[in-house]
């Protein structure tokens, strides 16, 4: 009985070190589409940071607004100066939690649906969001994928009426981060 107690205590003490597993990347991609039938507007950021904790479900993404690449110089200038004001609001951050963590087995390869809820900060405005995505577990790599839409007005991004047939009221955002285990 005493032995059993000791084993139980040891197990209890060891558990955090077993369970605490963090994954991260500094080279994820975040892209968006905010064009219309009149014009394509696409931006791509290849240096997104993502970190998540497989035991607590805490997840965080961060990008530098100036890091978005565009096909046209003018588009990039307008994006930074008029819409996102990247000198003032240099970063965009998502901080949240994986709410269906119990459905993901990080030890078994496969694709798992993921539900994430948290605060998304864009253009200095913080808003609560919830979205569905996927985790692709491949050994010690976890690829986090999500696609969702935001309403520009929600984040105080003003589109002048002169260009409102070129710029959509919403932006479709795609996230693709290949995370490696942090040892």
């Amino acid at each position: 009985m005493k032995n059993l107690m000791i084993i139980a205590v040891v197990f209890f003490l060891l558990q955090p070190s077993f369970a605490q597993k963090r994954y991260f990347t500094k080279t994820g991609t975040v892209s968006f589409r905010a064009g219309t039938a009149v014009e394509d507007i696409d931006g791509l950021n290849k240096s997104a940071t993502c970190v998540f904790d497989a035991s607590s479900g805490d997840i965080q993404f961060a990008i530098l607004i100036k890091g978005f690449e565009f096909k046209s110089a003018l588009m990039m200038e307008h994006f930074n100066e008029n819409y996102m004001e990247s000198d003032k609001f240099s970063k965009s951050i998502f901080k949240g939690k994986i709410i269906n963590l119990d459905k993901i087995n990080f030890l078994k390869d496969g694709t798992y649906p993921v539900k994430v809820k948290g605060i998304l900060e864009i253009h200095g405005v913080k808003k609560e969001v919830e979205t569905n995505g996927q985790f692709k577990v491949l050994g010690e790599t976890v690829i986090a994928i999500a696609e969702f839409e935001i309403v520009l007005e929600d984040y105080a991004i003003a589109v002048p009426s002169l260009v409102k047939d070129k710029i959509s009221k919403t932006a479709r955002i795609k996230v693709n981060c290949s995370n490696s285990i942090l040892k």
Binding site: T29, K46, T49, G67, S72, L74, M76, K91
Partner: protein
């Protein structure tokens, strides 16, 4: 030639050049950073030190500038599915490094690099997250 004709020709010339300039600007691609001379040359250690000690001042000095950064390669990330290549330069600070994201067609040059060797990378500084990030990178040396 009557005056009204001159005025008409003058106006149509202005309209034509205006439209041409507008068209040119509209279709202008972002500058190819590979063809630009770096504004500044620094070591990865110095760059991180500058951002750690005073981020606002470092932003003024480096943000949106083409810089050449010399450092030791800590990691090379190549994602064959997206054709994306990045190099992480060691800065002596375990908490931050310099992340350099390359032009997609520079992937061949990045593949020839190896960890632990010294390299000089040119790119556009986009600011600091955890790392200082360079965009549109290519290898100088």
């Amino acid at each position: 030639m009557p005056t009204w004709k001159k005025i008409l020709i003058g106006f149509s010339l202005i309209a034509f050049f205006g439209a041409a300039a507008g068209y040119y600007l509209y279709n202008k691609k972002p500058a190819d950073v590979r063809r630009l001379q770096p504004d500044l040359s620094v070591t990865a250690n110095f760059l991180i030190l500058a951002f750690n000690s005073d981020e606002a001042a470092a932003n003024l000095k480096y943000l949106d500038k083409v810089i050449a950064v010399k450092g030791i390669i800590a990691d090379i990330k190549i994602d064959s599915s997206t054709g994306q290549a990045s190099v992480i330069l060691d800065s002596g600070d375990p908490l931050s490094a310099v992340t350099c994201s390359f032009y997609n067609d520079e992937i061949g040059a990045v593949q020839k690099l190896s960890k632990g060797t010294e390299v000089v990378i040119k790119g556009k500084c986009t600011g600091k997250l955890m790392d200082v990030v360079l965009n549109n990178c290519s290898i100088i040396q």
